[in-house]
């Protein structure tokens, strides 16, 4: 980790511009293309995860310091838990595992 950062803030401005490009890219893909719903969700979903990774590395300094390794392990495990909760809930509650309502 750097103690001093002088000169033009390339990292921060670059991260900011990239996040804007990805946001506008997601809007364009969602509203200005004729792709199928699933394809759009795949693309803008990927963009969302890329942008989260960008925030973590460019702004949050996730891997710096003595505990950088533990931060990565902690974040990776939390993301895994989040995926299990979200995908698991949808799977169990909407994919025919629940009794039909009718």
């Amino acid at each position: 980790m750097k103690k001093h950062e002088t000169g033009f803030p390339y990292r921060h401005v670059g991260g900011f511009l990239l996040s804007i490009i990805m946001t506008l890219g997601a809007v364009i893909v969602a509203f200005k293309t004729n792709l199928s719903f699933n394809m759009i969700m795949l693309i803008i979903g990927t963009l969302a995860f890329l942008q989260a990774g960008l925030q973590l590395t460019m702004f949050m300094h996730v891997n710096e310091g003595n505990s950088g390794k533990y931060n990565i392990i902690n974040m990776a495990y939390s993301v895994f838990l989040a995926a299990v909760i979200v995908v698991g809930s949808i799977w169990v509650l909407t994919s025919g595992h629940a009794a039909p309502i009718k």
Partner: protein, 201 residues
């Protein structure tokens, strides 16, 4: 270990205790990810249960969403610049980026509250359907985090003005920046999987 000061590191990492506090905050953020995951899971499960009320496609307006997204993205950038200035030991620079960060957060809240009043005027209250209940809970929990962050930030600014940049105030400012960036990350997922998804369905 405790109490030893390593001046080769940035201010917020110089004391062992401060390093542990920062590590502890990362663990807290891990729990926050899980908290928001449960709210997202509920939302995805209930998104089609509109009970005759409006759906996301009818309710969401791109304009407000884009304004809010840019307000938060910009505030995440200004928070990043704030930490950069802190590492240069420039208190004025820290405040110069800290205050706009909070003002952008306030702008976000204003637009979000306005958006909530629009939802209600279009017949979507938290009691309308399972969909609106899950929606307001998810958005409201994020908005409550932003509100809390603004209050927290003001308190840190007061400490910075009173005590200047010390290892302790630097650690507090750094932890605040982690929290603030995290809220931006959560918003990116709300933007993509609630608003954009809702509008193209």
């Amino acid at each position: 270990m405790a109490g030893k000061v390593d001046t080769s590191l940035p201010l917020e990492y110089q004391k062992h205790q401060d390093q542990m506090n920062i590590l502890g905050f990362w663990v807290f953020l891990g729990a926050e990810i899980v908290l928001f995951a449960t709210l997202f899971a509920s939302y995805f499960v209930l998104v089609d249960r509109t009970a005759g009320g409006p759906s996301g496609a009818e309710l969401f307006h791109l304009k407000e969403v884009m304004i809010n997204t840019f307000l938060l993205l910009t505030s995440s950038f200004t928070a990043g610049m704030m930490i950069r200035e802190m590492r240069n030991h420039n208190l004025k620079g820290v405040l110069m980026w800290f205050i706009p960060t909070l003002l952008l957060g306030l702008g976000f809240l204003t637009v979000e509250i306005y958006e909530f009043t629009l939802f209600v005027s279009e017949g979507a209250t938290i009691q309308t359907s399972a969909f609106t209940a899950a929606l307001f809970t998810l958005l409201g929990t994020h908005g409550a985090h932003v509100s809390l962050g603004i209050g927290w930030g003001v308190l840190i600014i007061i400490q910075l003005l009173k005590r200047g940049l010390t290892p302790t105030t630097a650690r507090k400012t750094f932890i605040f920046s982690l929290y603030w960036h995290f809220l931006d990350v959560v918003w990116i997922f709300i933007f993509t999987f609630v608003y954009l998804k809702g509008m193209i369905m």
